[in-house]
Symmetry: C2
Subunit: 145 residues, 2 copies
């Protein structure tokens, strides 16, 4: 029950992108540098997000990445789903055929509830939430003043 580095790096990259977005696209290289993630590896991680249309990319000189939606409209549930492939603790949730006698299996119901709990948690958080949280954490002096 571990999250892969893809999910963690990807989320951080997306958060980084959200925070540094402006008129101009943000280069993958910058994100990799700031987040201390291998550029080559990050390319692989970002790919599914681009394919899914969460990120728009423009190649060539002065190219880079941009979010296609506002951060408040990007839920972590969707992000993790794309990065992790699936969040199901067991395969038979998605396709009951993977286990024999899935219809009489009682543990399956429990794993199913687990998935729901995870989904609900991730669904309640948007990229905007993360951005705001980060800003609060990075400006503690202002809070105390």
């Amino acid at each position: 029950m571990k999250l892969s580095t893809r999910a963690r790096y990807g989320t951080r990259a997306l958060l980084d992108l959200a925070r540094h977005e402006g008129e101009k696209p943000v280069q993958l290289k910058e994100i990799a540098g700031r987040q201390n993630i291998s550029l080559h590896y990050l390319e692989h991680i970002i790919a599914p997000l681009v394919r899914a249309g969460i990120i728009r990319s423009t190649r060539g000189a002065r190219g880079g990445l941009q979010l296609t939606r506002q951060p408040k409209d990007v839920r972590l549930s969707e992000v993790i789903q794309l990065l992790e492939g699936t969040i199901s603790p067991v395969d038979c949730i998605g396709n009951p055929e993977s286990c024999e006698r899935a219809d009489t299996c009682v543990t399956r119901d429990i794993w199913c509830e687990m998935k729901k709990a995870i989904d609900a948690t991730l669904d309640s958080v948007t990229l905007q939430d993360l951005v705001e949280k980060q800003e609060r954490k990075e400006a503690p002096l202002k809070q105390n003043a």
Copy 2:
């Protein structure tokens, strides 16, 4: 974010044990047979449960396994914890040192909430719940009569 077979097999084995408990110990061989799990593999899976004292084992002729507590006092959270090692989606929940700058990391907070959600779900289910659920599923005719 997948559960290992150890967690799934182990839970099923424990459920099987709870259902077939009587005066005499239940043999690992029987459980393996009923649940269609490799005996040798199941030995390894059961081991941490014995070590943790959830199961009492007696060796030798006519030996076998017995629960040390009533099924209603065995929570899945504890079982999965033992079988899976940890339920944390990331290491830095348990030991914050594993990530650098864990104190300013906002994604960590999210993963932490995920863990809480999972824990809560598993904590709300006991072995007894599973047994009852199973019995309801296996006797649908009686329900309809």
